[in-house]
Symmetry: C2
Subunit: 252 residues, 2 copies
C-alpha cells in the first residue's frame, strides 16, 4: 500500500434488490467504511443502493468512478441469473467480459474438474484487465477494474476478503476522531456547539447525535480531524462548555 499525504475518498455501491426491499439489513456499508477509515485513511463520501438492473449499474459505475478515488461494489457476483455486476462493469468501461485465466484455475481446482459447471464458470468471467481480490472463504475472487473494487454481498465472505483490497489502494491521511457522550439534550448545547464549529470550520468536523440509554437521553458529540492538535483544541473547548453548563459526562 502506497502512502500519500492527502484526502482520499471512496463511494460504496450496494447492488441488490434484497436490500432495497427491506428483506435484508445491509451490514457491508458500516464494515467497509470503518475498515477504510481505520486501516487506509480513506473516507466514504457517498453510498448508493441500487437494484440488479444492468442499465442502472452501468450508469452508477460510470458516475461514481469519475467522482471518487475508489468505488467499492458489493453483490451480484455469484453464479445465478441475477448476478450481473461483472458484465455490467465491463459495459460501463467498454471492455470485454471474459474468463480471467487465474480465476478460472482457482475455481476449477476448488470445485474439481467434474463439478465445475456453467454457473461456477460464470464466476471466473470478469471485465478484461481486472486484477483479482482473493477470497479465502469460498474461492470465487473479487476483482478490481480501473478504480472499481468488486466484492460479494454476503458479509461473512466480504469481511474475509477486505484485507486483500489493501494492496490496490493509495493510503490517505488518517482521520482522528473523539467521542464525548453527554447527559444533556441537543438544544441545550446547540448554540455553543455551533460557535465552536464556526471557529474550526475548515479543520474539525463536529457532529451531534442524540442517544437513548437505559431510559436516559443523551448526546454524543463526535469530533473528527486530520490534525490531532486541532482536535485536542476543540475537545478542550467542549470540556469547558460541559463544565460551564454543569453537564454529566457518560464514561462507558
Amino acid at each position: 500500500m502506497k502512502k500519500k499525504n492527502k484526502k482520499v475518498n471512496a463511494a460504496i455501491l450496494i447492488i441488490g434488490n434484497e436490500i432495497l426491499s427491506g428483506r435484508t439489513q445491509d451490514k457491508n456499508v458500516a464494515f467497509i467504511a470503518n475498515w477504510l477509515n481505520l486501516k487506509c485513511g480513506i473516507s466514504v463520501s457517498e453510498v448508493r443502493v441500487i437494484p440488479d438492473v444492468e442499465k442502472i449499474i452501468i450508469n452508477n459505475v460510470k458516475e461514481l468512478s469519475k467522482k471518487f478515488n475508489y468505488v467499492f461494489t458489493t453483490g451480484g457476483i455469484g453464479p445465478t441469473h441475477d448476478d450481473i455486476t461483472a458484465q455490467s462493469i465491463s459495459k460501463a468501461f467498454k471492455v470485454k467480459y471474459e474468463y480471467h485465466v487465474e480465476a478460472y484455475k482457482i475455481l476449477e481446482s476448488y470445485y474439481g474438474k467434474k463439478k465445475f459447471n456453467e454457473g461456477r464458470k460464470k464466476m471466473a468471467k470478469m471485465p478484461e484487465g481486472s486484477k483479482l481480490i482473493y477470497n479465502p472463504s469460498s474461492a470465487a475472487p473479487g476483482f478490481i477494474t480501473k478504480n472499481v473494487l468488486t466484492l460479494p454481498g454476503v458479509p461473512l465472505i466480504l469481511n474475509s476478503m477486505i484485507e486483500n483490497c489493501k494492496k490496490y489502494l493509495i493510503k490517505g491521511s488518517k482521520v482522528n476522531s473523539k467521542t464525548l457522550n453527554l447527559y444533556t439534550v441537543e438544544s441545550n448545547i446547540a448554540k455553543a456547539l455551533g460557535s465552536i464549529q464556526k471557529k474550526y470550520k475548515k479543520s474539525v468536523d463536529i457532529g451531534s447525535y442524540p442517544f437513548f440509554r437505559l431510559g436516559k437521553i443523551g448526546v454524543s458529540i463526535v469530533t473528527r480531524s486530520i490534525s490531532l492538535t486541532k482536535l485536542k483544541s476543540v475537545n478542550k473547548e467542549l470540556l469547558n462548555l460541559v463544565k460551564i453548563k454543569n453537564i454529566k459526562i457518560l464514561k462507558y
Copy 2:
C-alpha cells in the same frame, strides 16, 4: 390514502456523516422499505447516503425528487449546527425557509415558553408550504415539501412517525412475495433458475441469496410479483425443480 392501481416508487436519502463514517449502523432503510412495501405498495428504487453538506443535499433532493414518485429523507432536522436538511430542501425547491406556524405552536407548548430557546425554535423552521408529519415521541415534526418527506434520523423517533406519512402517499399495487429456503448451493440450481426467470421475465422477479445457518449452507429463493397467479406458477416450477434435484427444503 388514495388508491391507484400502478407501480409507485420512492427513493430514500440518508443524510448523515455518522452513517458514512461507519460509526452508526443504519436501520432506517430496511424499516422504511418494509413499511412502504407492506403498507403502501410502494417500492424503494434507490437509496443514497450523503454527508451533511448543503450543496450535496440540494443536488440530491433535486435529482431524486424528479426521478421518483417520493423521496424520504432521514436525518439533519434537529437543533444543532449540523442539522441543515430543512434549509437545504428550501434551497433545492427555491422556496423560503421560514417558521411553520403550527410547528412553532407545537414546540412552544411542548417545551414551555421559557425553555423555548433558539435551537428548539430552529426545529419549527421549514420550507415554505410544507405540511407537517406529526411526531408522537419528541414533538418536533417532520414535514412534506412537494414529493419529499423529511423525517428524523433517530430510528425510535422515525418509527413512531411513519404512520403519519400515509395520508400524503398514493398507494401502489401490492407486491406479493414468497421465499423458499433450500439446502443447496447456488451453482446447483443457477441454470434452471435462469430459465425460469427468462420465462417470467416481465411478471416475476426471482432473487437468489445464499445463507449460512447452524453451519449449513443454503439458498433463499425470493420471488416477487404484482400478479399472485404468476407468482404461484413460478413457485410450482421451483418446487418441481427442487423435487428433480432432490433438494431439502428448510421449513423454519
